[in-house]
Structures are given as C-alpha cells and as structure tokens.
C-alpha cells in the first residue's frame, strides 16, 4: 500500500468518500473542472473542515434546506473576520446536508491566485477567482455560487464595526437576473469574533500587495458560529435601470440584515 493510499484510508472514511462521489459535478476524466476543482482534493478538505465546523466553531446552520437542490443559485452572505472562514463554513454546511447535498463554489479575492500553494489549494476545493465571467459561466453550468458582495470592505472591517453591512456591489444581482438564478440570503453570526482587529495598517498592506493588514491576535478564536439561511428570492430578468437594480440589491441586503439580527438575538454567548 502506498503512503497516499494509506493516508487516504485513515483520513477519509468510506462513507465520506461515497458521499462526495454521489454529488454530481461537471468534471473531466481526471476529476478536474475548468476552475481547478478536484474531486479527490475536496475529500481531504471536507474531512478537515468537518473537524473545524463541528468541533472548533460548533456551527449551527438554520434553514440550510432553503438552498434549491439543483439549478443555478447564488448564495449571498455578509463577509467578516479577516479570513474567508465564513465561506468555508457555508460551503461545508451545504455539502454536508443530508438531503440533496451540493458542493458550492466560493468567489475569492483577486490576490489569492498569486499566492503559491494556497491559490491552487483553494481552487482544488472549489474556490474560484471572483471574476464576473467566472460567476456567469458557473451559473450557466448550474452551480451553486457563494458571493460576498461586500468583498474586502466586509472581511477587512474592524471589530468596532462588527455586524455593520458595508456597501453591496450590484454585480451579483445582474448575474442572478440574467441566469434566472434564485438568491439565497445568509446571515453569518460569529465570524466577526474569530479574528477581532483593532486597526488596519494600510501602508503595510500596500507594500505587501495584500488587501489589508489588520492588527489582531495571531490566533483564530473559537467563536460559536450561527448561519441563518433565508428563503430563496426570485427576480425577473426585465430590462430595468440601474437604480431599480440597486433597489433589488437593497432588498437582499435588508433580508441579510434581518437574518443577522435573528442570529444575534438567538446567540446565548460569544464562545
């Protein structure tokens, strides 16, 4: 038995292997898709995330069944906590649900592909460069796509601004309308407390070519995370002026805000 097979047998239980294999994915003969998703790598990612999801952040996911079983769908959530942990947890929640699991794709920051190892690793577990063309092609491929319309404005915000929604871009709404994809809003509560940052050293971030350089503890705190998934929202694809599109974006934002408030009020304690 080779080392790889041995490790696989230890890390990936038979049940998990079958669970992933059952989920239909548009992949080629060697298990890859055009964005670098890999059907073998995801099994390791899944096994690791299971521990993080269940043991470390003790995630409670409410309404995960609201995400449609098939067809294109955009999962829109608030972004927080410096690292894209929120995307990972939403992804795992959907991939591990008992009925009709799906492996969603997360749109990630433009700087990740330039980072050796990490860029490829993220691609292999389904993350994709956050480019509108990528998102459009994936919706055309009937994928479930996780989008954080706040982008770095959301993930890079300081602890004092926690649970304050930043400006949402309109791009996701245009794509949802064009591809007839329902929007499923998600309110994430808890990720703000994982890496509380007190300041952002902008000159350092600029020098390093990264989106932000927070002053924070060098640990990820085990905050309990609540995911509240709302009901799918449907929008027609009529030709409407940009301000009407913005109104629709505001509707989604208001719904996410409501879901965050629900999570905050249900939360008993931070950790």
């Amino acid at each position: 038995m080779s080392l790889a097979t041995f490790l696989k047998s230890r890390l990936i239980p038979e049940e998990l292997d079958q669970h992933i294999n059952r989920i239909r994915k548009p992949i080629g003969t060697l298990g890859y898709d055009p964005w670098g998703y890999n059907n073998e790598a995801i099994k390791y990612g899944f096994a690791l995330t299971k521990q993080i999801y269940e043991k470390y952040f003790r995630v409670s996911a409410d309404g995960i069944e609201n995400i449609p079983a098939d067809g294109p769908v955009l999962i829109i959530a608030n972004h927080s906590g410096q690292l894209p942990i929120d995307g990972l947890l939403i992804g795992y929640a959907l991939a591990s649900r008992k009925k009709d699991p799906r492996i969603p794709r997360a749109m990630i920051e433009r700087f990740f592909p330039t980072v050796p190892w990490l860029g490829n690793l993220l691609n292999e577990v389904g993350a994709v460069l956050g480019d509108p063309v990528n998102c459009a092609k994936m919706l055309a491929n009937d994928e479930a796509v996780i989008v954080f319309p706040e982008g770095v404005r959301g993930s890079g915000k300081l602890y004092q601004d926690r649970y304050e929604l930043k400006r949402f871009g309109n791009g996701f709404m245009h794509l949802a309308m064009k591809y007839n994809a329902p929007i499923v809003p998600v309110g994430v509560v808890g990720c703000e407390e994982t890496i509380p940052a007190i300041a952002n050293i902008k000159p350092l971030a600029k020098a390093l070519g990264i989106p932000y350089a927070p002053i924070a503890l060098p640990v990820i705190l085990p905050a309990k995370v609540h995911l509240n998934v709302g009901a799918p929202m449907y929008f027609d694809d009529l030709e409407i002026p940009e301000e009407r599109v913005t109104e629709r974006v505001e509707m989604v934002k208001a719904e996410i805000s409501r879901l965050i408030d629900k999570g905050l009020s249900e939360r008993k304690r931070l950790f």
Binding site: G28, Y32, P34, W35, G36, P113, V115, P116, N123, V133
Partner: protein, 315 residues
C-alpha cells in the same frame, strides 16, 4: 465532359507533424501543394513540396501555377524557434503576403492556425475564456507579439475580404507523437521544471484530434475565430506525474526570482517568456467550435499521457 476538378489546396508548415497529418487526411480527395519556411520535405510523388520564404517573389509563382482553391496556413514559427525578428518576418509579414496573394488569386477558403497563447497568462484570467476576450499577450511579453500580430492581421483580412472565408483556430496545447513544441518536449522529458506552488489548469489536444479539427474546419466555410479545446482539464504538475516526469521545483517567490533564474539558464525547454503559462491558468472554451463544426475530440487525456510515459526512452 470533364471530370469534376479536385480541390487544390496549399498547406504551409509542411515540415511539422500537424501539417503532415492534415496532408495525409486530405491527399485522397484533394490535390495538395506543401510548403515550408524551414526545410523541404518529401511527402510522396503526388505532392509537390517546396522550401520557400513567403516574403519572396517566387512564392507568387506557386499561386499562378497551381490555381489554389484553398489555403491551410499551419506554418507558424513557434515562439521557441528562431530569433524574435526572424519570427516576426516569417509569421507576420509572411502571413500578410500569403493573404494578399490569396485575395489576388481568388482563393475561397483559408484556415489559419493561431494559438491560445494570444490570450496571455495573468493571475486574473477567468476560466473558459471565449473568443471575444481581449488578447493580453502582446502586453506581457515581446516574444509573443508576433502571435498576436498574426491574428490581428488575419482578422483584418477576415472582415475586409469576406470572400476569402478566413477561419482562425486558437488551439490549446497540441501534444502527441511527433509534436515538437515546448509543452510536448516537457511532457516527453525525464525531468521537467515546475514553479513551486503553482500548478495551473491546462488543456491538451491530441495531434490527431487537432488534425481532424483543421480538416473539419476547412470543409465548412464558416468565417470567424474559434478556440479549439476538449472539455477536459488537468493541473500541470498532475499531468507531469501522469507522464512519468520528475518535477524540478523552481523557487517562485518573490516573482522576480524565477524570472531571473530562467533568464540566466536560458533553457530551451522552459523559456522565460512562457513562464506565466506555468503559473496562471489559461483555460479556453472550445464549445463554440465544437458546436459549429460538429467536432468531438476522440483521444482522452490518459491516452495522451500514456504515450509520453511509455516513450520516455526512445529505442
């Protein structure tokens, strides 16, 4: 009553493996003339073969003598061959001459071979790039300028002279027996360099499939630009593994380091101006071509890689 005239076709780049496959597919039904910039090749008594510089006047004599109906232009000098200026002369000025003559002698069908390199490898490339995407390559490396210029030129003629029925094909990595491009040489080698921590998604098309694509494209006069790639993908380092290549990691950060290393080493097999293609993915969408020309590649990736693995040590 005279017999129906067989189509006369000029095939350029005859010394290359791809052109010879195309010639073999067409020789039964067409009268072919083969030319190459590099060398004269013997292709049998039925096919006149010339070594000719397209920019020289004698080239026109071929058009006068053989009265071509179509041109299949595969004679691109690859970025790993010759100097930048000679390549520019051959690829850009040579192609211009070829298209001018094609127009002058009333040619009805032209197929031009380009490459997916024209899109350029940058970190922000989306996957499944379609034909309308900007060609970023010229801004990234002076060594790829001739590829982009060749395309621009063909595009201008495509719109200015619709009667030429120009089709431009942008294939992904062409690999397989006999192919001598950078990618094929890497897959065939015992050891191949790879940038540490980067394993971009790649697409490979078997030379026989590419030859089918060219012949199918030639037979259906639809003008335009088309990507040619199978619906299958693999990461570069995984492909090397499947081909039985040992990977030699080249330090990749900070980005100036690998560039410096490759420029200093001047490896023919891993040129510095193609470095970005081993770092960032350039995944093209070949579905428009497949639909329009009813094309489906027949050789799977595993068959391609098996060939390279089994032929590591030539007898």
């Amino acid at each position: 009553m005279s017999e129906k005239r067989r189509p006369h076709i000029l095939v350029t780049g005859a010394a290359g493996a791809l052109a010879q496959k195309v010639i073999n597919q067409l020789r039964g039904t067409c009268d072919l003339v083969a030319v190459d910039f590099r060398e004269q090749v013997y292709l049998g008594d039925d096919i006149p073969s010339y070594r000719i510089d397209f920019t020289k006047r004698v080239f026109e004599d071929l058009f006068r003598r053989y009265q071509f109906d179509g041109v299949i232009h595969l004679g691109r000098i690859m970025s790993s061959q010759l100097t930048r200026m000679r390549r520019y002369n051959a690829n850009v000025l040579g192609t211009q001459k070829l298209l001018d003559l094609s127009h002058k002698y009333g040619i009805k069908r032209v197929v031009v071979l380009s490459t997916f390199h024209v899109y350029g490898a940058v970190a922000y490339n989306p996957a499944l790039i379609d034909e309308s995407a900007p060609l970023k390559s010229a801004g990234l490396s002076a060594d790829l300028v001739d590829s982009v210029e060749l395309e621009n030129l063909a595009n201008i003629y495509l719109w200015r002279y619709p009667d030429l029925n120009i089709t431009i094909l942008r294939p992904c990595n062409i690999v397989g027996p006999g192919v001598r491009n950078t990618m094929s040489n890497l897959l065939a080698s015992e050891r191949a360099p790879a940038l540490a921590g980067f394993s971009p998604m790649m697409q490979f098309i078997h030379i026989d499939d590419m030859s089918d694509a060219i012949v199918q494209a030639y037979k259906k006069p639809v003008r335009g630009v088309f990507n040619v790639a199978p619906q299958d993908w693999v990461a570069y380092q995984h492909a090397l593994k499947l081909c039985g290549c040992k990977r030699i990691p080249i330090p990749s950060i900070p980005p100036a380091v690998p560039k410096l290393i490759l420029r200093t080493l001047k490896l023919r097999s891993f040129p510095s101006y193609l470095m970005a293609f081993f770092k960032y993915p350039v995944v093209i969408d070949g579905r428009a071509f497949a639909r329009e020309f009813d094309f489906e590649p027949k050789r799977p990736l595993m068959e391609i890689f098996r060939f390279y693995r089994d032929n590591k040590k030539p007898v």
